[in-house]
Symmetry: C2
Subunit: 626 residues, 2 copies
């Protein structure tokens, strides 16, 4: 018999049986799988050292009430991989949870990470949950908020750069109610790679413990120490599960585990009593309830209408952040520390949590905060770092987390716009269920923020353009324009003679609206060409409009598109024969900020369009057509 079982107390033996029962549940399920089963259904070897620690945790420490799986002050228990989900399911079943199968919200955490593309994401998400808890505890006090986040993580997740970013931030933020449990290979002294990961967590300010094959008492002592830690904790367990666990003579043990969860019920009842007489009760319930109210929309629009001073007229998305902070007390703003020379990200007008150049973890935190609830996280970074946000955005898109990232475009350089982001917009728009907003005027900024906050299919990205203008043309004096920026696309300027009389429809977004309008004026001035300008601040919302609306905006005339980005994907709106005008000529500008392209001039754009439409040349021909 395994050393750890000899001389065990009856209580400890019961814990072994708990672990064994969960393990058998999963093994039985695996054994029943056909050989054609999808990967991820087998009993993972890496779980072997973890059965007992998880059993001790659930039996003696975890704060949860199976009867109320969404209790706001519950501990969050997360697993890093779909392959660990059966383990979660087994413990839920044994403790009689009303949620039969672990879904996305049972314990506040989905089983993420089946795709290697998302490796490391679970660590960032768990840290985000702990950050949400810390934020709420500061706001409402320990009598209402006093729980922990536990993450069961595979080793591969911990060795990623994303996990290290999250670990470093968790260390800096002192997220001491975060505990990650993992396995280490047997005799890890001889595995420098595994050891290196643990050492790096320690260097990031974590309390790291290596636990060699241990019995119930040792595991309980380690978990008790975790509760007292002033730093985030990483526990690395080693050792196989014993081959044989002695069962009690009477044979029947199921139901025994339901008893231990009465602890959770007691905890929750006493919490409910504290909530009832708490002076912040209403505020707390509103915060944990979430959601954007009609009241918000009203207040939001009033704030924008209230702007009078001229400098405020040059307002942009950052002002929106200030308004959000005023209207949504649950707001938490995370931001990457910007390169000093990067003018795009000015100091934000709101209280922020600085994440350093760790945009990947920052976006992962947003997922964790949203999954936790009670806070509303916003991430602010440069559009140039969009690629580093993608794994988190992707996770949010798949799990329909409504996270919101604010991405600032490169600032205007000496000679004009610095074309830094040839394909970032296209890459983001390609992601299903993610909505990309790129407003170009005050009116669009207001509408896009409302749209982004209400977008319910997944994450949203708000692009902040330095060239947002209060241009009267785009603000108020729409020349026969119609439609609503809130519908994703609308007519900014109708052609002379109306929709059916257009020679060309010029599509655009964001800061290029002014250029598009000037191009239209130039083209009409040369005669024989009637130009409509259509702004598409959000493709995804425009695509959801009914066909009549879209046709009424896009028209049937030939189409051209103008955007300070790669043209990839624009064929969706211009058709296969459409024209795209963009800055693709100098992608290397990024490497040398002094090689700023001159602004795409209206003359250039008009020339391209004239060529595209085969208009009779006016003296010297314009630039080459598409």
């Amino acid at each position: 018999m395994d050393d750890r079982l000899t001389g065990c107390s009856e209580a400890d033996l019961a814990t072994w049986r708990f672990a064994d029962a969960a393990r058998r549940l999963v093994a039985g399920r695996s054994a029943g799988m056909t050989s054609g089963a999808a990967p991820g259904s087998v009993l993972p070897e890496a779980l072997e050292p973890l059965w007992l620690p998880v059993a001790v945790l659930w039996e003696r420490f975890l704060r949860f009430d199976p009867a109320a799986p969404l209790w706001p002050d519950r501990d969050r228990f997360a697993v890093s991989s779909v392959r660990m989900r059966p383990l979660l399911g087994a413990f839920l079943r044994l403790t009689g949870s009303t949620a039969a199968a672990p879904d996305l919200t049972v314990t506040g955490y989905p089983a993420a990470g089946v795709s290697v593309g998302l490796a490391g994401q679970p660590v960032a998400i768990a840290a985000g949950m702990a950050l949400a808890e810390q934020t709420l505890e500061k706001r409402f006090g320990q009598s209402l908020v006093n729980h922990r986040t536990w993450l069961l993580s595979g080793r591969a997740d911990l060795e990623t750069g994303l996990a290290m970013e999250a670990a470093m931030l968790a260390g800096q933020y002192h997220l001491h109610r975060l505990c990650v449990m993992t396995d280490i290979p047997p005799g890890s002294v001889s595995d420098p790679a595994a050891d290196m990961t643990l050492n790096c967590f320690q260097a990031a300010g974590w309390s790291v413990r290596r636990i060699r094959p241990a019995g119930v008492a040792e595991v309980a002592a380690v978990l008790a120490a975790t509760l007292r830690s002033r730093r985030p904790v990483l526990l690395a367990f080693e050792g196989r599960f014993p081959a044989y666990i002695p069962q009690p003579p009477q044979g029947e043990t199921s139901g025994a585990w339901v008893a231990v969860t009465r602890r959770g019920t007691t905890l929750r009842r006493s919490w409910l009593r504290r909530l009832t007489r708490h002076r912040q009760r209403a505020v707390f319930e509103r915060a944990t309830g979430g959601g954007i109210t009609d009241r918000f929309t009203e207040d939001w629009r009033r704030l924008w209408r209230g702007l009078r001073r001229p400098e405020e007229l040059n307002s942009d998305g950052y002002l929106a952040l200030e308004f959000l902070e005023r209207l949504i007390p649950e707001s938490v703003f995370l931001t990457s520390a910007m390169d000093a020379g990067h003018a795009a990200l000015r100091p934000l007008p709101v209280a922020v949590r600085a994440c350093g150049a760790r945009e990947g973890a920052m976006a992962g935190f947003l997922n964790g905060m949203t999954l936790h609830g009670g806070v509303r996280g916003f991430g602010v970074a440069a559009l140039g770092s969009a690629d580093r946000l993608r794994p988190a955005l992707r996770f949010a898109a798949i799990t329909r987390q409504r996270i919101l990232c604010v991405l600032a475009e490169g600032a205007a350089g000496a000679g004009g716009v610095l074309w830094q982001q040839p394909e970032q917009l296209a890459g983001l728009r390609a992601m299903k269920d993610l909505a990309v907003f790129r407003p170009g005027s005050r009116r669009e900024v207001v509408a896009c923020w409302e749209g982004a906050l209400r977008w319910e299919h997944g994450p949203a990205v708000m692009i902040i353009s330095p060239s947002v203008s209060g241009d009267p043309d785009t603000e108020a004096g729409l020349q026969g324009g119609r439609g609503d920026p809130g519908r994703g696309g609308y007519i900014l300027r109708e052609a002379e003679g109306g929709l059916l009389n257009r020679s060309v429809t010029l599509l655009t977004s964001g800061g290029e609206a002014g250029l598009a309008l000037e191009t239209a004026r130039l083209l009409e001035a040369r005669g024989g060409c009637r130009v409509a300008v259509v702004s598409l601040p959000c493709w995804e919302i425009f695509a959801l409009q009914d066909r009549d609306y879209r046709d009424g905006v896009l028209g049937v005339a030939p189409r051209a598109a103008l955007e300070a980005a790669s043209g990839f994907g624009w064929e969706r709106w211009t058709g296969g024969d459409g024209l795209f005008i963009g800055p693709e000529e100098n992608p290397r500008a990024e490497l040398n900020p002094e090689s700023v392209l001159p602004d795409l001039s209206a003359e250039h754009c008009a020339g391209r369009i004239a060529h595209f439409l085969r208009l009779p040349s006016r003296g010297r021909r314009g630039a080459e057509g598409g």
Copy 2:
């Protein structure tokens, strides 16, 4: 006067003057800039502690010959940001380099990192250079390969997850000829964030030194110790540059620094003597020369033709790796350690360097290896991790580095293909100058590899599909097909009656070719519909073909596209009115590998196309059209 200058020897004073001269060069340049200058032109505060160490390094340690800037055995000196490029330029000018301005290749390293999106990339690139050096040293010995990589890095770069990934791999690989120099804020004891970064590098197996304001002797001692280190080295310097450096009475010092670089000339001459009598001289020169020869193409095709056994007929991209290893001795294969359950990445048939779940650093290494030269790096990972490769691919695209990543699609599950990657293909195709290859048959595999190896505009990505087939239909018995997979797109099956008689052109790529052919057969069998199937294994190469060829392949009939991915971007080929058939219906499959979608059936596809073409219904109507 600064303490560090009092009692200085004349030789040390000369070094101070060297640093001072470089600093004045850059400061003078900055002072001359107009206020509208692009960001990055000012003298960065962070460089202050670094002027002296860099001067000591260049004067006494750096192995370089200004007369031969591309000497293969030179030290690589890299800067992490465009803002540091003037520093590099100043030292080059003072040492009389024939390369007046630092361009992309002078010291083997471009000034990268101006975009925050690329933060951390320089650390991975520098480590990749050191890995190339280590590889070459093992192959040719120290008499030919005996140089180092020095990176001057901003602090923000070091705190990224990508830098940590690179640091951990550099530690594991024992890249002791790598040295990163950075600044630390004054009194960094009170800056826990900066301290944390240094501690993490130490935990990753680096030798980390904090150097408080130091004179020439201390800096020289630290650099001498660096040469002896058995681990990669991180040097963090603190302290402002002294306000006043005493100049010699005669006043004239320019030209004095040219003398110190004679050391480099001597080193190179003695290296040339060793090379001349080295038995591997020819091989060494071929390796450092690079390039794919005609001989390679011939050998490559012969290897493929030589395959006979049936199991080899089920060959795919992995077999190609084996052939590459045989034909290109410079090959180095890096691979991410795959999640045990991820069946897509089988053990590779070649010798690999395992990178763990650190695909970001892995791809950055490829950039460094390519910039270094003498080796040809290939990265192998899962397509699901494509997002983590993007910053490195982007760097390669901007700087035209010809790196090659091999990405494996998700494996077939129980019921069919696991639709894991809705938008990865679109996201990659959106990146300018990156070529994406997705072969679906043996013939396409051979042609695509040749195309990828020859792609000279930037990086290439080879998608390895589990459903590549030796299907006779696609291999040999092309039904009236024409064109060449090497041209990026070709006719796999012509419609009855030829090009001008097509009812519809069905576009596809990769493993969906078989499904497309079956769909075509079904449609023709129901009568009244003549279907051509066009395979587009590489959009970027197809787009480079002349218009006649493209028109001859695409035809004028309505177009539909079929691909196991998001349809974003396909409008480029189908036109705005085209149809896309894909698996977008279940993006959540990723979270649960058991919820595998049934294969898109040919019946379903045929129904969609019939609806799209408004063919008379045959009994029950097919699925909804686009």
